[in-house]
C-alpha cells in the first residue's frame, strides 16, 4: 500500500483505542461468568492491530500479534480453557503488545528478549492444542496433462467453462470472466446451449450454459488459471492446448458426479471437525435489525484548538451577560417583566451552551485508571507484594488536557502506596489482614470540583519515623509540637523524600513534593489522611476548567477580589463583644460556639495598609473543604455574581492564596481567592494556640 505516512498516525490512534478494548476485555475475563462476546472483542482487538501492522510492515508487531491472536482464538472457540496462568500470560502479552506498539510508533526496536520469552510460552499453548490441524493449502487439479495433446508448440489455448449454480450465486459473472480472458490475447468465444433444458424442465440449479474459448497468442496456462482463481470450485473448467488444428471440445460435462477436473469438495474434509459445526450454525442466522442498540453512536473528531476557541467564546458570553445585567440594573430597568424574562432566558441558554461545551472537552478518567492497573501490576511484581486495584467512578469526566497530566502524579501515588503504604505479606498475615493488599482509586464530582482519591489498606503513616526524619533534615525545629495531621503534611515538603530507604521501585526517587507541585500546576490541591494500622488516603481536588463560579466580590484596598460562595457561611459587622485577642495581634471571633481566627486578607495579600482594626470593614466567616473555619476581614463587600474562571497557570503560575482569576464585566481582572490555602497557611504556632484556646474557653 503506497503513501502510508498520512495513515500512520491514524493507525496508532486506532491502536490506542484497541488497546483500551483489550485491557478492559481482559479484566472482564478475570471475573467469573464473563460473556462470550468479551472474548470475541478481545480477539478482534488483537486481530485488528495485527491487520493494521501488516499494512505498515511492522513485522515484529505482526508476528507477536499473530501468536497472541492464535491463542485467543483457541479460547474463543472453546478449544482451550481459561485458567489463572493463561490469564496472567495474557496480561503480560497485552503489556508486551503495548511496548511493541510504543516502540513502533517511535520508530525504534523492541526488546526481543522479552518478546521471545512470551512467544515461547504462547507457542507452548498452541502446540498442546491438538485440534489445530495443519491447514492444507489446496492446489487446484484443473490441469490434466495426460489428456493434453502431444506437446507441440502451443498456438492457442482452449478453455471450456461450465459454471455451476454456485458460481452465479456467489456474484461471479461469466461475462466478467470472458472480459478478463480477452485481455490475455485475442479470443474466439462460442456459447454452447445444448445442455440447456427446455423451459418446462428448467432447473435453476443446473443452468446448463457452457462457453468454449480459444485464446490465440503467447498465453501461459497460469495466466488463464489466475482469471479463474475464485471460481475453480464452482465450475467445470478445462484448459488444453491446441497446436493449430481445431479440436473437438471435450464432451459436455454436466453429470452430477464431477470429473476430476472439477475441484471436489475436499475442502470440507481438511477442516477440523469443529469448523464443520460452525457453518451450520451461522447459516440460519436471521438478519439482524439495523436498530441494534449496541451499535456505536456516530462520532466525529474535532481539533482541540476549535474547542478551545469555543470555550473562550462561551466564557466571553457569560461575562457579557453579567455586564448586561449590571447595565440594566443601573438603568433601572431590572423590574420590567419583559426585561427580566428576556434576561432569564439568555442566562439559561448561555448556561446550557456552556455545559455542552464543557461536555465536549470532558473525557472520562477511564483511560487513566486503566493505565493504573498496569502500573499497579508492575509495582506489585517489583515489590513482591500481592495487591489489587479497585476503581470507582472511572466514568467521572475531567477536561481532556488534565487527563494526560494526571498520569504522572497518580503513578507516583500508586507506587508510593504499594511501596511504603502496604505492609509485606508476612506482616499483614501477622496482623490478621488479608494477604492481598487493596488500593482503591476513586473519582467523583463534588461541589464544583473533581475529587480523586488514592487509598490503601496498609499500615498508615508511621508518624514517629516521619517526625524523626523531618527533624534530622532540619525541616522542623526539634521539640516542635505537631499534631498528627501536621506531621502528615511534612511528607509534602521538598527534601522529605526518604531516599535512605531502599525502594524496590526506585529509579526516580520521586518525592511527594513533586506530586503536589504537579497537582498544583493543574490548579488543584492534594491532601493526606492517615489512620495508624488502617491505611492512608491521598485526596486530590481539581477544578473544572471553564467553571463558572458563584462568587462574592470584595474590596481589599484598591483591589477587587472574588471569594467563592461555597466557602462563605455568613458575613457580619463585628462588634467588640465578639472579638477576642490572644498573643500579639492575633484576633479571634466568637462564632457559633467556637473561636475562629480572624485573617486580614489585606495583610495576607500584601495590600497596604495592614494595620486596620478588626472592627472596621466586614468579617466573612468561611468554612473550607476540609471543614476548617476562619473569618476573613475585608474592606467591603460589593455583590454576588457568577464569574468565569480564568486560569493563571498558563501565563504565570501559582500565586499563593489565589486559585485563579476572572474578568469582570467592565474588563477588569479580579483574582479568585482560595480560602482553603489561606486558612491552611496559618502558622503551626497559631494553630496550636487556637486549639489550646478552644479547649479552654
Amino acid at each position: 500500500m503506497a503513501d502510508l505516512d498520512e495513515f500512520r498516525e491514524m493507525f496508532f490512534v486506532e491502536c490506542d483505542e484497541l488497546q483500551e478494548v483489550l485491557a478492559s476485555g481482559l479484566r472482564e475475563m478475570e471475573q467469573p461468568g464473563f460473556e462470550k462476546e468479551t472474548v470475541h472483542a478481545v480477539f478482534r482487538a488483537v486481530h485488528s492491530i495485527k491487520g493494521g501492522a501488516a499494512a505498515f510492515g511492522l513485522s515484529d508487531l505482526v508476528k507477536f500479534a499473530h501468536r497472541f491472536e492464535t491463542v485467543l482464538d483457541l479460547i474463543r472457540s472453546d478449544r482451550m480453557d481459561m485458567s489463572a496462568q493463561v490469564m496472567a500470560l495474557f496480561h503480560r502479552c497485552s503489556d508486551c503488545l503495548a511496548d511493541l506498539i510504543t516502540s513502533a510508533r517511535a520508530g525504534g526496536d523492541a526488546d526481543l528478549g522479552l518478546i521471545d520469552g512470551l512467544l515461547a510460552e504462547l507457542d507452548a499453548l498452541i502446540e498442546t492444542d491438538d485440534t489445530i490441524g495443519e491447514v492444507i493449502e489446496f492446489t487446484p487439479l484443473t490441469l490434466d496433462f495426460e489428456q493434453a495433446l502431444p506437446w507441440a508448440a502451443p498456438a492457442c489455448l482452449q478453455v471450456r467453462i461450465t459454471p455451476l449454480s454456485e458460481l452465479y450465486r456467489s456474484g461471479n459473472d461469466p461475462a466478467a470472466l470472458l472480459t478478463a480472458l480477452r485481455k490475455l490475447g485475442s479470443t474466439e468465444v462460442r456459447l454452447e446451449v445444448d445442455d440447456v433444458p427446455p423451459l418446462d424442465a428448467w432447473d435453476a440449479e443446473r443452468p446448463g450454459l457452457s462457453w468454449n474459448i480459444q485464446i490465440l497468442g503467447d498465453v501461459a496456462e497460469a495466466q488463464v488459471l489466475s482469471v479463474f482463481e475464485f471460481v475453480e470450485d464452482c465450475c467445470v473448467l478445462s484448459i488444453s492446448t491446441l497446436s493449430g488444428e481445431t479440436q473437438d471440445a471435450p464432451p459436455a460435462l454436466l453429470d452430477p458426479e464431477p470429473r476430476e477436473t472439477r475441484m471436489p469438495d475436499m475442502v470440507m474434509v481438511s477442516q477440523p471437525p469443529e469448523a464443520e459445526v460452525q457453518p451450520a450454525a451461522t447459516s440460519p442466522r436471521p438478519v439482524q435489525s439495523a436498530a441494534d442498540t449496541s451499535a456505536a453512536a456516530p462520532t466525529i473528531r474535532v481539533g482541540l484548538e476549535r474547542v478551545d476557541r469555543l470555550m473562550n467564546m462561551i466564557g466571553e458570553l457569560v461575562i457579557k451577560e453579567a455586564m448586561l445585567s449590571q447595565v440594566i440594573q443601573t438603568a433601572g430597568l431590572h423590574e420590567a417583566p419583559d426585561v427580566v424574562a428576556g434576561l432569564d432566558s439568555i442566562r439559561q441558554l448561555a448556561g446550557e451552551i456552556q455545559e455542552s461545551v464543557m461536555a465536549i472537552r470532558a473525557q472520562p478518567l477511564k483511560l487513566v485508571f486503566q493505565r493504573m492497573h498496569r502500573i499497579l501490576r508492575e509495582a506489585a511484581d517489583a515489590t513482591g507484594k500481592p495487591v489489587r486495584l479497585v476503581t470507582i467512578g472511572e466514568q467521572t469526566e475531567v477536561d481532556k488536557t488534565m487527563i494526560e497530566r494526571l498520569i504522572d502524579p497518580l503513578t507516583h501515588m500508586i507506587r508510593n502506596s504499594v511501596d511504603h503504604g502496604l505492609e509485606d505479606s508476612v506482616t499483614r498475615q501477622r496482623l490478621g489482614k488479608p494477604l492481598e493488599g487493596v488500593i482503591t482509586l476513586s473519582a467523583a464530582h463534588r461541589s464544583g470540583r473533581v475529587q480523586i482519591e488514592v487509598s490503601d489498606d496498609g499500615g498508615g503513616i508511621n508518624r514517629t519515623r516521619v517526625r524523626q526524619i523531618a527533624e534530622e533534615r532540619g525541616l522542623i525545629a526539634p521539640g516542635a509540637n505537631l499534631g498528627p495531621a501536621e506531621i502528615d503534611q511534612l511528607l509534602f515538603l521538598p527534601g522529605f523524600s526518604s531516599k535512605q530507604e531502599v525502594s524496590a521501585l526506585s529509579g526516580r526517587g520521586v518525592g511527594l513534593d513533586v506530586v503536589r507541585r504537579e497537582i498544583m500546576a493543574l490548579g488543584g490541591r492534594v491532601m493526606i489522611q492517615s489512620a495508624e494500622g488502617e491505611g492512608t488516603t491521598f485526596s486530590i481536588a481539581l477544578p473544572l476548567t471553564l467553571a463558572v463560579l458563584e462568587g462574592m466580590l470584595i474590596q481589599l484596598g484598591d483591589q477587587t477580589m472574588v471569594l467563592p460562595i461555597t466557602a462563605v457561611q455568613e458575613t457580619l459587622q463585628p462588634n467588640r463583644a465578639m472579638l477576642h485577642g490572644i498573643g500579639e495581634g492575633t484576633k479571634l471571633l466568637a462564632n457559633r460556639g467556637e473561636l475562629i481566627p480572624i485573617i486580614d486578607l489585606c495583610c495576607t495579600f500584601g495590600l497596604a495598609p495592614c494595620e486596620k482594626s478588626a472592627e472596621s470593614g466586614v468579617l466573612i466567616v468561611v468554612e473550607t473543604d476540609s471543614r476548617r473555619r476562619a473569618a476573613f476581614r475585608v474592606d467591603a463587600i460589593f455583590d454576588q455574581r457568577q464569574v468565569v474562571i480564568k486560569s493563571l497557570e498558563q501565563n504565570y503560575g501559582r500565586v499563593p492564596g489565589v486559585s485563579a482569576a476572572t474578568i469582570l464585566g467592565d474588563g477588569q481582572i479580579a483574582l479568585i481567592i482560595d480560602p482553603e490555602e489561606i486558612v491552611l497557611s496559618l502558622s503551626n504556632e497559631q494553630g496550636r494556640l487556637m486549639a489550646a484556646m478552644a479547649s479552654n474557653g
Binding site: 491447514v135 456467489s170 464452482c234 451461522t282 439482524q288 451499535a295
Partner: protein
Amino acid sequence: MSVRILAVDDSPTIRALVSKALRAAGFEVFLAADGVEGLGCLPDADPHLIITDINMPHMDGFGLIENVRASGAYDEVPILVLTTESGSDLKARARKAGATGWIVKPFEDERLIAVIDKVLGR
C-alpha cells in the same frame, strides 16, 4: 456513471487506506464499520461491488455476505473478502456464504484494483 463500491471494515485505518486506493482509481466509495452498518447503507449505496473484512463486531463478514445474498436484491453484486488469512477453510466458508473472491491483507493497491476490475469485468 461511476462505479460504486461499499467497503466494510472495523479498522478506521484500513477503511482509510482502502478508500484512498479506490478513489484514486476513480471509484465512488461508501464505508461501513461492521456488518450491521454495511447492511444498513446498502439501499443508499446500491453498490456495484462490496469489499468486506471478516472479523468485525456486531455482525462479521460472513454474516454480512449471507444477509446480502439472502435479500435477493444483490445477487449479481460481487463480494470480495478482505482477510489476513489465506487458509482454505476460510475461503470455503466465504464461498459457502456467497462470496465472490478474496484479497489477502496487506495488499498492493494495484492488486486490489486488478481484482476488482476482473470481477466486475472492466
